[in-house]
Symmetry: C2
Subunit: 203 residues, 2 copies
């Protein structure tokens, strides 16, 4: 799978705004984000930002939607690989043992954005859709594994709910607490969980 | 285990302030919380709030510490029960299938507070300590199960990291997305995970 979120030089205005937003989020977090700071990362005229968006939250909702589409494209690139391999790659992606600073800062900003969904309906709708997408993707990988006989007789939707919930938990814990040393432990335990899924009895 | 967080009528000032804070958080969330609104829930003189705390964040940090102590007391009340039962009770507590509104609102406020730990060092220290406490507690339950032969030959720390991460993920998902129908699925999948732990091969 690829983890490149942006092209080297986005060729359309929206993609360029999204890249500027990404950079500003990594640098300032959600709380410190302003349209001005996004503008500082934007190579074109700042007036374009105000032309396209009503404000910070309007822009951020479009950003979340853009990022979900990027992930959709990324995930679809796995199509040809074996289900077990795809599950293991996903675990390694969500629980990196040596996340770089940029990714760590971005994850923090995403956790702040997600908390906004506790009270904001538009954010809540986005995260419901995005959780649903990722969970269904995991479920379809597991279902394919069951069909091929690579994975035991488990309920793909239930296993996917478990995995997606664990992934979400790790994103929050790694962004809000000091658990660097835990990444290796959790990652290998999740691989043990997959070992059990692929064992003959499906446990 | 008990889920009563407060006595009917707290007899000391700090406990009364904490109860008022809890009520204000359930009603207004973190974003809408003010010392004034905590004062509205406080039966004694509001000036006591200003006397004891430097401001909202100072009070909230004490609140988090108070709540962690309450949970410590709650968890310790399980001492006499069988490890497997305690694990299952914990799952049912963290993944309720019919959470009442108050608990749901409190969970949302806690998720907002936790997101603050992405950028605030004092919050981060608290959540690192509280995660560590809950995870160690789960690990000790599993270790006791291994010792008694109720649980297979697993690494208690690794299984606890997995479970605690899943629990944290569910708290965030249930507070920030529409996944009510998922609670039953996740809960029964977690019980299946415990079934596997107690199976003879430890899977």
């Amino acid at each position: 799978m690829t983890t490149e979120l942006f092209d080297e030089a986005p060729d359309d205005t929206r993609a360029a705004i999204m890249q500027a937003t990404y950079r500003a989020l990594c640098e300032h977090g959600y709380a410190g984000l302003t349209i001005q700071r996004i503008g500082d990362e934007f190579p074109k005229s700042k007036s374009l930002l105000y032309h396209h968006y009503d404000g910070k939250d309007d822009l951020l909702l479009d950003f979340l939607s853009f990022m979900l589409d990027r992930f959709r494209e990324t995930v679809l690139r796995w199509e040809s690989e074996a289900p077990e391999t795809r599950l293991r790659e996903l675990i390694d992606y969500v629980v990196p043992v040596d996340a770089d600073d940029e990714r760590h800062e971005f994850r923090k900003a995403m956790v702040e954005l997600r908390a906004g969904a506790a009270t904001d309906e538009a954010y809540r709708e986005h995260f419901t859709e995005s959780d649903r997408f990722f969970q269904d993707e995991v479920a379809s990988v597991i279902a394919e594994g069951v069909d091929r006989g690579d994975v035991g007789d488990v309920d793909p939707a239930a296993v996917a709910a478990h995995l997606q919930t664990t992934f979400e938990g790790w994103m929050v814990r790694s962004a809000t607490a000091d658990f660097d040393a835990e990444a290796r432990v959790l990652r290998s335990e999740l691989h043990r969980y997959v070992d059990a899924l692929v064992a003959e009895d499906g446990r």
